[in-house]
């Protein structure tokens, strides 16, 4: 309790402390000739990279730079979103393992904090923060992603355990994850939202078969999982049995808020325009007033989106704005990312269609291709718009054919 009595550190002091610690303890990232940071792609880390990231995370956690907004009780720092933003700004130029732990620490950890029992939190949250455990979400299924509550993976009670069978897909970083939050259907004779339970599943369990999916950008950081008689102990339910939809909704709100706030970890969604200015210069377009205005417009929007995310996140947090507004955080971040990628492709022009192997212009082709996932992954933009419309604005839902029908009577893929 002594902490609450001592005077809180100001944001400026916090920034200074972060800056000094980073300079003394972490390698800076390499930079291009124009000064912009080259962020390494660790979306598919090797075993060695993974081990190094975990070791680094242990050090970060011990020094108090992990779990900045998490409760102190579970290994966090108990600080504000502003502190987290300061840390992200200060650490952006350093080789900290943000990307590998991003989903685990920004979506799964906060979901456990929100819905777990004290024992569940004590057991996992500190390990999530220091990197010993990496968590992911197993949400989408081949039969449908947007209609999340229509999931077909089944969990059948067997004494003190549940037996899970089914297939999940589009899970980020499943190849190196330790645990997952995995909703599965425990009742089939009730409407779809009322028969789902959220399980904490060990990704190393027998019967869990993980395969990478090759994406349009050539990468394979997403996986599909085949679950065959995966056994999960009954005390590994998060929330109550058949109450899993509530947990899933909470997790999605946490995700949208985070993606909107940070662009999804800072490494995955660059929003700065310095690279575009360099690109324009390299294509002899830097003096074109029309090009200048397009880049300036993107700068204005990206900066404004960051400010809006803080405003709306805080408004939701203190109950002055509807939680349904979390959808616009992701929607806006998607638009900024895609607009940047499209402008990059435009400016690169021919150089993004064909490039020599040592040339950097291939970056813009890949960046563009990757950006197409923004409006699909993590809840499509259409689903975000539904949520904003229905939850924040109170517009009526479209009539649906499955809402009040027992799930076993609903036609599905």
């Amino acid at each position: 309790m002594s902490d609450t009595l001592s005077r809180p550190e100001s944001l400026a002091d916090y920034r200074l402390r972060a800056r000094e610690w980073l300079a003394a303890n972490v390698e800076p990232l390499p930079r291009r000739s124009d000064g912009t940071v080259i962020v390494p792609d660790r979306s598919q880390p090797s075993d060695a990279e993974l081990a190094e990231a975990r070791a680094q995370q242990l050090v970060l956690h011990a020094a108090g730079w992990a779990g900045i907004t998490y409760p102190e009780e579970y290994g966090g720092q108990g600080l504000s979103l502003e502190h987290e933003a300061v840390w992200q700004e200060e650490s952006a130029g350093y080789d900290v393992p943000t990307q590998i732990f991003a989903v685990s620490q920004n979506i799964l950890g906060p979901t456990l904090v929100a819905f777990g029992t004290h024992e569940q939190k004590l057991r996992h949250v500190p390990r999530i923060l220091d990197g010993r455990e990496i968590w992911l979400q197993l949400l989408s299924e081949p039969s449908g992603g947007s209609d999340l509550a229509g999931l077909l993976t089944r969990a059948d009670r067997d004494g003190a355990s549940y037996i899970l069978n089914g297939q999940k897909t589009w899970s980020t970083g499943a190849a190196h994850a330790d645990f997952a939050l995995c909703p599965a259907r425990t009742r089939w004779d009730v409407p779809k939202h009322r028969g789902i339970t959220m399980f904490m599943v060990d990704m190393h369990s027998p019967g869990m078969d993980i395969r990478p999916i090759r994406q349009i950008n050539g990468g394979a950081e997403f996986c599909e999982e085949f679950l065959t008689d995966v056994t999960v102990s009954a005390d590994r339910v998060l929330g109550e049995e058949n109450e899993g939809w509530r947990v899933a909704r909470g997790m999605l709100e946490i995700e949208h808020s985070w993606v909107g706030r940070s662009g999804g970890g800072g490494t995955r969604r660059p929003t700065g325009v310095a690279e575009l200015v360099s690109l324009a210069a390299s294509r002899q377009l830097a003096g074109d007033p029309g090009i200048q205005r397009r880049v300036a417009a993107l700068h204005a929007l990206a900066r404004t989106h960051d400010l809006m995310s803080v405003r709306v996140s805080k408004g939701i947090e203190d109950g002055r704005l509807s939680a349904g507004l979390s959808g616009i955080l992701k929607l806006g971040a998607d638009i900024v990312w895609q607009r940047r990628a499209e402008l990059g492709l435009d400016l690169a022009g021919a150089a993004a269609l064909a490039w020599s192997p040592e040339d950097q212009h291939g970056e813009w082709a890949r960046h563009y291709l990757t950006s197409r996932s923004a409006s699909i992954a993590g809840g499509s933009d259409e689903i975000q718009r539904n949520n904003v419309g229905e939850v924040a604005l109170g517009l009526p839902r479209e009539p649906s054919f499955d809402r009040d029908v027992p799930f076993d009577q609903v036609p599905h893929n």
């Binding site: 200048q292 417009a297 900066r303 507004l325 718009r385 604005l393 517009l395 479209e398």
Partner: protein, 386 residues
């Protein structure tokens, strides 16, 4: 509305909203469309009693703000008046008071400030040649103000030229005229509207709830004391005033966007087609969700610009960021609002076109969207000619 208003500011905001709902709802603006002045002095005087002309003026002249942050307080007023398209030279008179408070001599302050704050006189700004809605890049040396000033034989000034797009220009008592001095710098002149050689022409306007006039100065002779801020010769003060104007205008635009959006949501819930509210159709719902995003972006941009102005750092950039974001998404929002309203939205009787007109017009005034994006080119790292 901001989420971080102080208690005093909240009271100020609530008072403003109640006053406007009772005294000056949109139907009031509509009634004044063909009025020669374009506003009702009695209502304007009551607005002045609420302190709406005080935030940027010193206390010695009846000024003062509820929070000590004049721009933030005035932005509250601008947002609320935007919601009902409140007619009257309110922002313009505030800007004139700000200019006089900052640059004026003791005599100029004594002559105008108390009357501006109390609403006894009104003012408008004649500073645009029409191009870009701004006197010129940087508004300093080489600016294109449309009016030029030459020393007159009796040690005063002789102004000639035309100032375009002057809100309420045919109804106000005092004109703040931007004119190019012999040095090439733009100077600001305090010109009583009844000065010799000053004529105004009320224009046909796209925005029906805010009249615009063209002000002609035909060798208008003014005393030396008409020049405001004689000691400031680099044009930076005019630039500062223009930035302030665009920030407050953005706040007004956001108020208009917000009200227009609320009307649209209400309509989408009430209007039925195919046996259900049209807001239940995704084609409409998704449009409305996009409108929420555009509105929240716009609010955040205004907040940042207001804060930058009150803090005195980065205000030029923040204002241009706001004009860029709001100049793009304001028009998108009001166009969508008309579309969701369907046929009724295309009728003269429905209010939505009044908001459409205001928001589209504001995207041009005080610097067009393109103009402000060009101003940001240097900030994002492009080489800009000095």
């Amino acid at each position: 509305m901001r989420l971080d208003l102080t208690e005093d500011q909240s009271f100020f905001q609530e008072t403003a909203r109640r006053f406007l709902e009772v005294e000056a709802p949109v139907s009031y603006a509509r009634r004044l469309i063909d009025d020669p002045a374009g506003f009702d002095p009695a209502v304007y005087a009551r607005a002045a009693e609420l302190g709406w002309l005080a935030p940027l003026a010193p206390e010695d002249f009846g000024g003062g703000s509820v929070s000590g942050r004049g721009v933030a307080d005035l932005a509250i007023v601008a947002e609320e008046t935007g919601r009902t398209l409140f007619p009257g030279p309110l922002l313009e008179s505030n800007l004139a008071a700000a200019a006089i408070a900052r640059l004026g001599s003791d005599d100029q302050k004594a002559r105008y400030l108390s009357d501006l704050v109390s609403g006894r006189i009104t003012a408008a700004l004649a500073w645009s040649s029409g191009e870009d809605g701004w006197p010129g890049p940087g508004a300093g040396v080489g600016a294109d103000a449309g009016v030029s000033a030459e020393p007159s034989t009796d040690a005063g000034w002789r102004l000639s030229g035309v100032g375009q797009l002057v809100p309420y220009g045919s109804a106000v008592d005092l004109l703040v005229v931007a004119a190019i001095l012999p040095s090439g710098v733009v100077g600001l002149f305090l010109v009583p509207a009844d000065s010799t050689g000053v004529t105004s022409q009320k224009m046909e306007t796209f925005d029906l709830s805010r009249p615009l006039s063209s002000i002609e100065l035909a060798s208008s002779d003014l005393p030396a004391s008409a020049l405001l801020g004689a000691g400031h010769s680099d044009g930076s003060e005019l630039d500062r005033l223009l930035i302030l104007a665009s920030v407050l205008q953005c706040a007004e635009t956001v108020g208009a966007m917000e009200r227009c959006f609320e009307m649209t949501v209400d309509y989408a819930k009430a209007r039925r087609a195919f046996g259900r509210p049209i807001g239940s159709f995704q084609a409409i719902k998704h449009r409305l969700a996009d409108m929420v995003l555009w509105l929240e972006w716009s609010k955040a941009a205004v907040e940042a610009a207001v804060d930058a102005f009150d803090a005195g750092t980065g205000e030029a950039e923040a204002a241009s960021v706001a004009k860029s974001v709001i100049g793009e998404h304001g028009p998108l929002l009001v166009r969508s609002a008309v579309q969701v309203h369907g046929g009724i939205g295309y009728t003269w009787e429905h209010d939505v076109h009044l908001f459409l007109r205001r928001v589209e017009a504001n995207a041009f005034l005080y610097g067009s969207t393109d103009f402000h994006r060009s101003r940001l080119a240097g900030v994002v790292g492009f080489p800009v000619p000095s």
